[in-house]
Amino acid sequence: MAETEVYRPKHAVRFVTASSLFDGHDASINIMRRILQASGAEVIHLGHNRSAREIVQAAIQEDVQGIAVSSYQGGHLEFFKYMYDLL
């Protein structure tokens, strides 16, 4: 069943959000990050067209708990695996 109650995290939760490389579709990640912000998370938004390296570097420097990436341009299998390996 769809939840409408907002989950309020106990700890300070930080996220890096981005759209993957060569991808300019960022409507979805903008919506998701706004809900994340409204639910109490600190969001470091990197925008569109971000490479796996840039996202991972940001994630490490910003010491986030989660990375949220929107991928509409295809190639997500490789992209997500590559990010995972870089971390």
């Binding site: 939840e3 409408t4 109650e5 989950y7 994340l36 470091i44 949220a68 995972y84």
Partner: protein
């Protein structure tokens, strides 16, 4: 999707998930999964020990530690004793109203500084306001920066959280941490009007006020930091 989940990716959301969970449901799931501290008291000693090596992940985690333990006097005291006040790295503060061009200016400064001094290491601490109602924040300075992808640059975005000023309460600790990690230049960026209680002047050696060319009374400029 299964392939990615098996590989270790926490979750790939499909349109089906969207229909079943709803938007807030998906966000809630993400938040639940991430609702844990990145560094605990147990890790603290280890990370503090790695600081002199200049390990970026240690710098990042120690700053988080400082942010999360602002109310714990013992933890703060331990942080202070573990991190010696070293190096005389200059701290430059950059403030100004939203959209004035602070991040763009910071970015350009970094690029040029590295061009002239390619061996130097630069740390950027960027502060953005927390929305008091939700507790969330959009730390939107990083998106503006292009020069920070250089291996000698470390950038960290901070939210103001409970502080009633334009800076995070952890900023002093954060500055100590990056100084101890061996950075040669520290830039602090935050939004502010530069008048009255500009806290940025307390933490920086040199403060800069960035503004657009349109303004009303020239006498306002006299009040600036």
């Amino acid at each position: 999707m299964k392939e990615l989940h098996d590989y270790g990716i926490a979750r790939i959301f499909s349109p089906e998930d969207g229909r079943k969970l709803g938007l807030q449901g998906m966000i809630n799931m993400m938040l639940r999964e991430c609702d844990h501290p990145t560094v605990t008291e147990a890790d603290f000693a280890k990370e503090a020990g790695r600081l002199s090596e200049g390990r970026i992940s240690s710098v990042a985690r120690l700053i988080s530690y400082a942010e999360n333990h602002l109310n714990h006097q013992e933890a703060l005291a331990a942080l202070e004793s573990a991190i010696p006040a070293v190096k005389k790295a200059p701290v430059v503060g950059i403030t100004g109203t939203g959209g004035a061009g602070k991040s763009s200016l910071t970015d350009e400064l970094i690029r040029r500084f590295l061009h002239d001094h390619p061996e130097s290491k630069i740390a950027v601490l960027s502060v953005d306001p927390t929305k008091q109602k939700t507790g969330g924040a959009l730390l939107g300075d990083r998106i503006r920066m292009n020069a920070i992808f250089h291996p000698n640059v470390f950038m960290r975005s901070l939210a103001t959280r409970a502080s009633r000023s334009e800076l995070s309460l952890a900023i002093h600790d954060a500055i100590r941490i990056v100084k101890a990690a061996g950075f040669d230049l520290i830039l602090i960026e935050t939004s502010g009007i530069g008048q009255g209680d500009a806290e940025i002047t307390n933490v920086s050696d040199v403060a800069m006020y960035v503004m657009t060319s349109e303004f009303g009374a020239p006498s306002q400029l006299e009040k600036l930091i």
